[in-house]
């Protein structure tokens, strides 16, 4: 569905992506983890041609998105819903208008139909009450969820989530995880999720990839991921108290309060 072929990208004087190749299957939830500045957001941007590779290609289905322009590009992009890291809401539009914007601009629907659809989508992200507020007047976590609602309202085939749960409380985070999982199971959506939260990565990912300094050092199923031999992966797991058995380990104590699905 999405294929990176030896993608190399230089930004400023840094090589941000260095010979990155991987393939994401249809109906997968592909999770990308990695430390700050590893190139996760840059990878996502390549999938929708907000950035183009210096070398290599990015395929979406049978199209090379990295070389598409005009109508072709528009067609490829219409298959995507994107939640940006910064939520990227238009500041002068209300929450409802932000969420309804793609419908208003792209779909031939009546006002009432749009309204109903917006209500429905806001409900999916637990935000019915924020309807008329401006983005500046809601919390960062709420803005993130509005961005999420806007990303899914067109019912796209592929959804890119850049840190969907950062800045959210644990309970809301799990709601978002469940939503992502539901979209995959129910509607066959293909998702790419960038996250720092390994617990949600293990919970929702069909495969997990780790980017480290612009290189993809690990791509594997969650159960293989936590047993990875890579030092960086093990460090990353340890930093969130996850052991090789996929269990919580609190300060090397005995309390094992969490058991992942693996």
């Amino acid at each position: 569905m999405i294929r990176f072929e030896h993608v190399k990208k230089r930004l400023g004087n840094r090589v941000v992506l260095d010979d990155v190749s991987f393939e994401i299957q249809k109906n997968e939830t592909f999770v990308i983890v990695g430390s700050s500045g590893a190139g996760k957001s840059v990878s996502l941007r390549h999938m929708i041609r907000l950035l183009t590779p210096d070398e290599g290609r990015v395929w979406i289905g049978d199209d090379v998105v990295s070389e598409a322009t005009g109508k072709d590009l528009e067609k490829i992009r219409s298959r995507f819903g994107v939640l940006f890291q910064s939520a990227a809401l238009l500041q002068w539009l209300s929450v409802a208008d932000n969420v309804g914007l793609p419908l208003q601009e792209k779909a031939r629907m009546t006002r009432a139909a749009i309204h109903t659809k917006v209500e429905e989508t806001l409900k999916m992200v637990n935000l019915e009450e924020a309807h008329d507020k401006l983005p500046a007047n809601i919390s960062g976590g709420m803005q993130k969820r509005v961005g999420l609602a806007r990303a899914i309202i067109m019912e796209p085939e592929i959804i890119l989530y850049d840190e969907p749960t950062s800045g959210l409380d644990p309970v809301t985070s799990r709601t978002i995880d469940q939503l992502i999982d539901r979209l995959r199971r129910g509607l066959g959506v293909t998702s790419v999720v960038v996250t720092h939260d390994l617990h949600s990565a293990l919970a929702i990912g069909t495969r997990i990839a780790m980017l480290h300094r612009g290189r993809m050092i690990e791509v594997s199923s969650p159960s293989e991921f936590i047993r990875s031999k890579h030092k960086e992966v093990q460090n990353f797991l340890a930093s969130q108290y996850i052991t090789k058995d996929g269990e919580w380990e609190v300060e090397k104590g005995e309390s094992k309060v969490w058991r992942s699905k693996v």
Binding site: I48, L50, V82, Q85, A88, L90, Q91, L101
Partner: protein
């Protein structure tokens, strides 16, 4: 970019775009009115005082009516309005577009295949192209009025004599060339501001830089283009 903005002008017939254009007209026009009033009045007053004092040496002070009005119509009206709008509205546009670029809002629009030029530039372009000549007329009137005030209080030129003199020599061409400049300045300000905003670099520093550059580049372009238009029409 500007070509694209003109091409998308047809979308003004959509209700949503029309609403946005009206809003931009409002903020461009109404919000700068205060500053423009003060600047226009004083420009006229200064012009009248300086030329008046010189003309008085030849006993020609009654001609300040023409001097002030013609200079306002041809040069100072559009020029002053252009500078004020560049500094206030242009910088605000650059800051807004810059913030939107930095916070990925422009990227989000592109991914939704909503053309940022049609969605953001077009309404602002129209607003400035319409408002610049209107504000220039306003500047001209106030400038002439400022001249008249100085004329009657400092130089002993009566209001009626001042305006008779002004209407005798100022031509329609002076007005049209000035307004033509005003429209052109509107295009310049929007283009520079949007272009700077869209190419803003990451962070608040980038936005600040885009704003600063907008003001400087607009000023310089307004000056040079103003001169060239004058050259073109008054050989």
């Amino acid at each position: 970019m500007i070509g694209e903005a003109f091409l998308s002008v047809s979308s003004i017939f959509q209700k949503r775009s029309r609403h946005e254009v009206m809003y931009q007209l409002y903020i461009t026009g109404i919000k700068s009115l205060g500053v423009i009033t003060v600047v226009a009045l004083f420009t006229g007053m200064i012009l009248a005082l300086q030329t008046g004092l010189e003309l008085r040496r030849f006993g020609q002070e009654v001609n300040i009516g023409t001097a002030v009005t013609v200079v306002m119509l041809r040069e100072m009206g559009p020029f002053m309005t252009g500078l004020i709008i560049a500094a206030s509205v242009g910088s605000a546009i650059a800051a807004q577009m810059g913030t939107m670029t930095v916070s990925e809002e422009i990227a989000a629009l592109e991914v939704m295949s909503i053309n940022p030029v049609r969605f953001l530039v077009m309404p602002r372009l129209i607003a400035l192209m319409v408002m610049m000549p209107i504000l220039t007329v306003y500047t001209n009137i106030l400038g002439a009025l400022g001249g008249a005030i100085v004329g009657s209080t400092q130089l002993g030129v009566a209001f009626t004599a001042y305006f008779d003199n002004a209407t005798l020599y100022a031509t329609n061409k002076d007005l049209y060339v000035g307004l033509c400049k005003a429209v052109l300045f509107g295009v310049i300000i929007t283009t520079v501001a949007c272009h700077q905003g869209f190419s803003a670099k990451q962070g608040a520093v980038g936005v600040g830089q885009a704003t600063r550059k907008t003001v400087i580049i607009s000023f310089l372009t307004i000056l040079t283009v103003g001169y060239m238009v004058t050259r073109l029409f008054y050989q």
